[in-house]
Each structure stands twice: as C-alpha cells, then as structure tokens.
Symmetry: C3
Subunit: 317 residues, 3 copies
C-alpha cells in the first residue's frame, strides 16, 4: 500500500476487519516487521488521539518514530510555487518534502483544510505534494478532505458492535462554536457506504457535503426522521461545503444537539463521535456517559486502524 | 503499585533504597521488563529534569515512551463537569483521560497547583481524575500538592551521604520572585518524616504548610536556630498555604537566602535543592558551587527514583 | 571522539569518507553499538533537517533518543554568572548542563549566534559550557560559529559527485531578507580547505568572514569571475562579521542571486545549498530544480554525517 486516503486503498474491508481483529488480539504479533524502519509523523495542526495512537501503532510494529510539529521548533513552510521568498516562510515544501522523505520509510501527514480556497483544499494540495515528492508511502492523519484512520476505526467499531448484518447508521450534523472541516463526515460517509451499511445523513439546509463522498447515502434535513430505527448515531459538526459559503458556520441550532430524547427515537442506537467533542453542544453529558456510548472504544480502535495501515505499508516496502 | 503519590505507596523505604542502589549499580538490569509496554508522560506544565529523567528511566526498563505536552500541539482540555463547551477548550478530560489510557500501560502526569481554588488543588482534582478514569497505573510527575519522584530522589541522596543513622535535616524557605506551589516542600517533609529523620522546617510567619504533610516535624520561624547542627540543608521557596493568602507571595526577605555565613551555623551540612534554582535569591553562587552542594547528584538520582517507580508499576501490571 | 566542531576532530577526512560510504551502503551495520546509550539533542533554535537526520542517525545505531526544545516546555535558562536571578529565567546553565549530562551518554547542541556580542558568539560561549560542564561528548548541531554536521555532509556529497581529483569549489554569498549567522559558510570554508579542494569565496564588500575559517581560500568581490570554471557552486547568505557591522545586513543585492545565467559561467557546476533556502532570493526555481542541483542528496547525507559522528563518539565512550 503506497497511499492511504480512502477505503479502496485497503481493498476488501472484511479482510481488513479480520486483520484488525487479529492485531487487536495480539497487538505485538508483528513487532519485528518494522525493525529499522522509521515512521515520520508530520503535524501541521493539533492532535491528541492521532498523535498518540499512531505513535503507539508504529511502536507495536517495532518501528522507530519521529514526530515533527511543523509549527513548533521547525521552519515555516512556503507552499506556493514561483514566489520570491522574502517573508516569514524560510523553506519551500518542494525542498522540505524530499528531505523529510530521505530520513524515513513511511510518512503520516496531518494538514487540515485551510478554508482559503475550496479548490486547494479539495485537491488535497499539501498531501498530494507529499505523495508526489517524498518518495515514500504516505497516509493521511486527517488532511483537508479526509480522515481515513478515523473512518477505518469507526468501521471496526461498528462491525464489533452491530446486531444486524446491515445496520442503519445515521450521520448527523450537530452545533459547534467554530468552523470545522468536512474531513471526518466525508470519510465517515465514504466508508459507511463502502462497508455496505444503510447510511442516512441528516443536516440543516446549506450543510450538504460533497457528493464525491456521500454517493449511496440517503440525505435529509429532518434529524428526528433520520434517527428513527437507527442502530448507530454518529454526531459531528462541520462547516458549509457549498461554494459561496465554503468553510462558514451557517447555524448553531441547539435543537440538533443529541440528547436522551433524540436517542429515544432510535432502535436503542449506539452513540459515536470521533472526539474531541464539545459536551452539551454536540451531545449532552447524559448521552455521552450512557452505556450506549461507544466514544472510548471507538477512539481505542484508532490504535488498531493505524497498526493495520502501517503494517500494510511495511509489507509493501 | 497502581499509584505513586506518597512514601506509603512504596512500602518500606529501606527496601526501596536497596532497590534504588541495585538499579544504580546497573540501570539496565531490568531492560526487558518493559518490552512492548508504553509509558505516556503528560505535561500540563514546563519540565526539564522530570521530562528527561523519566524518559530515561522508562528507556532503562526497555519501555516505549510517548511524551505529550498538552499545551503544545494538543487540544486545550476542559476540567469542569456540566459545562456547555462553547469556548476555547475543545475536549473534556472525561473523554481525553480514558482515550490516553487506551494507548499506553503506565501514565505520568505533571499538573501544577493552579492557585485558583485551594480545595481543588489539595484534592488533586486533575491527578485524581487520571487515577479514576484512565484504567492505568498513574504516578505524579509533580502534581498540585506533591512531587514524590523528587522526594524519593532526595531520600536516596540523603541515605547515600548521611554520616549518622538519623541525620538532622532542615527544610528552609528562601526568597523567590514568583509564587511557587507547595508540592516540593510538602513531599519533602512527608518523606523525611517517613524516613525517620530528625526534620526541622524553618519559614517566615504566614508560610505554614499543610499539617497533613508536616506532622512529625519541628517548625520554627528562626532560620539561624534551625540551621544549628544541621546535617542537610534543603532550601526551597513556596507560596502561602493559609486560607486567606493561598498562593500569595508574603515575603521576599533576602536575609533567608542560604549563604556561606548561614552554612557556617550547621554541622558542615550538605546543601540540597530540587532545581531549577534562582541563584543569589535562594542560595548564593558560593554555596551552590561548594563541595558540600549535592544539587547535581540529587538531580541525577531522579533517574533512579523514576526507574524504581516504573519498575514497581510494570511488575504489578 | 569527545567533541565535534571542526574537521580536525574527525582526523583523516578520506578515512571518514570511506566510513561514511560504508554506513551509507548499510546504515544499520552498527545497530547494536548504541544499545542502552542515549543521545540527548538540545535545541535552543528551530531545526528541520538536523532534528530529523540526527534522530535518524542515533536510531540507526540502536541508541535511545531524547529531543529537548529548550524554549518549548522547558525552563528558560540563564547563561551569565553572578546574576541575581529575579527575572524570567528560572534556571542557570551551570545547573542545567550537568543535570542534562547525567541523563544521557552523548549530547548534541543547537545554539545559534545571538548577534549581541561577537566575542560571546565567537568563543562559542554556550557550546563551550556544555563541553566543560556536561561530562559527556558534545557535538555541534549548528552553534554560534560552526555547523560541522552540514559541512561534513557537504564534503561527502562533493566526494561522491566530483569529476576531478581537486575540484574548483565556489562559496558565494547571496541575498536574503534577514540577518543570518556565519556558521554555515565558516564551516564550509574550513572543511573545503581541509579536504584539499580549490576554494574561492565570493561576496560583496563588507562580508568578509573570519580568517580563522577562510585561511587557504581565494577571496573575491566579483561573483562572475569566481564562477568561471567552477565545478561546485555553494550559495549561502550570511550577515557581516566585521566588528562595527557584526550581524548586520549590508546588502540585499539581487544581482548575486544564482540564476541559469550565472550557472552558465561555470564548468557545468553542480549547485549546492544547505537548506532551508529562500527561492528566488538565493537561487532561482530553475537552478534549484535543475538536474545539476544537489540540494536533496546533500541533505540526505546529513543522516550519514551524523551517523559517522555518533558512531565515533560511541566507540570512544
């Protein structure tokens, strides 16, 4: 595996799930596979789960790990071509990327949507340059449009907890104080459809996601209707994708917060969220602390999804 | 061992001292004990010695280590329950702690007193949540009220250098430009009494420490009298503990600085300080550079105290 | 090897080059040499290549690595003696250095010129204190006046690409928006002469480097003349060294930028730069992206130069 952005990079998802279970049963089973191999984890943005779980995954495989926080203790990077570099950016990505590639075997990149230009974000400008110029396998640790390590962990979690072969999964928008990227809902939608689940996406008007990711899902503006009969409720905020409003907050409607009353509409659904979560904005204390909340096992599966991905990349070196 | 906050967590201190000497003679004696075990070191505050010595200790035992600086590159954490999280804090400790616990085997936490509320500090609100929710053994890397890795290293240092079975140890307040927590003097007092030493605490009026930690010590406001016959002088600044003045600087009296004249009052005492130390505020250049200064071997013993603590935690997993 | 600042620390450079080639052929050949040895890498300043390549080098040798960013998450350090430390600096280097030395086996230090006092910079005040007080082998990861890991990598790169026994090497000043240290040109000049190459240094008037480093080189203010017949062109900006203008930017003359027209004057020279590089200030996009640009292999050789240096230090422990 040379890149990891979408479910198709993994091939058959049931095979990947069995591999995940195999690793979960003994996460050190392949602890010599990564001997003298180095994972470089590059963060352009903040991270808790991804930072820790991906380090842990690499160490599970016996790899060396280098963590680089680009905005702390490194040089600011220019990303545009042809610029006279007389400002505060000391280095160009076109040099930095092959240099970073020369010191490692596998690269993970966290680089959020910048909301300056939808075209730049949706062509994954930064991540694509790493893929093109690093000479190494590259995986997204949440890039401008996707968060596949999260969606893979979500898929593993649903497989572990589902009570029917084809559960009804609801992805619902929920309010949040700040503008957030669409990466998590994009990948979640893409992976749920790829997994063959019955996916419904609920959001207020104006919050339509890119059809590139939501193909195969039912879309509604009525949250209550969507929740009916749901087996899994995945709450998440995102900002607008539509051209004129790209990256804008159009609503903070607190009637979309997932509460016990909302969960009562479901088929005793499990509650999911990728974390970090704003309590009492996205979801009430009561729901997130309930026995049907899967947020912690879901986060714990991030170690598993990352271990599978790194293992696949090591095997293909 | 599931927690490490106080001397009682270690059991018999002489046994712990012998274990420390055994490790000091060969610090890699147990270098397979930590194979495929991960220490997560979480810093809410700055650190030099603790950061380096605890990493070194974990590596001595063959562990993997992940360092997390919460305020650099991670999310700001909410610590209050029931809050509508619409501000700058993206994640609640109630999610963050079990998630962090899921990626490691042992957790160290540095979380200083905040001086906002004495009750919160003295119930060790942050550390207790890690103990309660992480599912992992937790040790303090200086928390609101204690710094047991330091006090254990101080105890090892005194055992190594004492010239009588029961030395006279003096803990003396000294001036400092800023308000400092009571964690170091609290733990030092607690450990010195637990070790059976003859402990005197000297400080200006108003600087009384919590009796929870000073029980068994003699307390005086006369530094010169305290120093008479001392075998070890441990200088340290702390802010007021008393209810109305909690966390306040009541004095910067430079007559409390430890100088050669002060040391001349002692029984050729050794000088100790936990570091970092403000030279010519806490202690003169002359004293800290003298042959009787133990500040460097004392700091070096931080690697030893941390190795013993991590070893005990690994053995109990 | 106890210190690494200059080519003489390595002894015979051809022997060092063969060692570098041996390691490049199998960079894990000595991966048990560093078992249970710890490299402490201390950064007072930003770093990308040095940070990554030196970590990688230490891991190639099986060492443990601790990275310390002094200005992030540690204490600010006082460097002057005799000061009453009542300001924002919590700790003195005189304590911090031996403490850091006690937790590791080898120390790398990045500490740029501060441009406050030429005497302080040119006596390598910070690095010398590490050498004197740490009790450990110390190597420069770019200090006030030298960047020997870079110059050693440059030497390796030229040996690998030279087409004559004694190539003509041109070090040329080029414009930059900010004041930069002289460490890279100092070391480059020193190493090129030590390697026995034919070295010409070109710069505008007022940019003379310290003769301590340029002895044996031809110096000119005419860049075009210098470039004639060059086999290697090494572009770099630096600020003034002369007493009255120390650390000042005297020129931003864009006619010194290395362009295709400039390269046409040479003997089909290879282009080199230590990176990070300001594109279209130091060098045009066209030249740095040309097939004769060696900037990426040169940076990749940083892993090799650091591996040789750490190997030599481990062998001498």
């Amino acid at each position: 595996m040379r890149t990891f952005l979408s479910p198709s990079d993994l091939g058959d998802l049931q095979t990947a799930f069995r591999e995940a279970q195999d690793i979960k049963a003994n996460r050190f089973r392949y602890d010599t596979l990564g001997r003298n191999k180095t994972a470089l984890l590059i963060f352009f943005n903040n991270s808790l789960r991804t930072r820790l779980s991906t380090q842990k995954a690499a160490m599970n495989l016996g790899m060396n790990v280098i963590v680089l926080d680009v905005n702390q203790g490194a040089w600011k990077l220019e990303t545009e071509r042809g610029v006279v570099m007389d400002g505060d950016k000391s280095e160009h990505l076109l040099e930095a990327i092959p240099v970073m590639g020369s010191y490692c075997d596998v690269i993970g990149v966290r680089s959020f949507a910048r909301f300056e230009n939808r075209e730049d974000d949706y062509t994954e400008q930064i991540l694509r340059q790493f893929i093109q110029y690093s000479g190494r396998p590259v995986f997204s640790m949440e890039s401008a449009t996707v968060h596949p390590l999260q969606a893979f962990a979500d898929f593993i979690t649903i497989e572990e907890h589902k009570r029917t072969a084809r559960p009804k999964v609801v992805l619902t928008w929920a309010p949040h104080p700040k503008a957030l990227p669409q990466a998590v809902p994009n990948s979640f939608a893409e992976w749920m459809v790829a997994a063959g689940y019955d996916l419904t996406i609920a959001h207020p008007e104006g919050y339509e996601l890119s059809e590139q990711f939501t193909q195969g899902a039912r879309i509604t503006h009525n949250q209550d209707e969507a929740l009916e009969g749901a087996d899994f409720v995945y709450a998440k905020n995102w900002s607008a994708y539509a051209t004129l409003n790209y990256g804008k907050v159009l609503s903070k409607d607190m009637s979309w917060t997932i509460s016990s009353e909302k969960m009562a509409l479901t088929n005793d659904a499990a509650f999911m969220h990728c974390l970090p979560v704003r309590r009492n904005m996205i979801v009430t204390d009561e729901v997130i602390e309930s026995p049907r909340s899967l947020v912690i096992p879901e986060a714990a599966n991030r170690e598993i999804s990352a271990t599978v991905v790194l293992k696949r990349m090591l095997e293909a070196l």
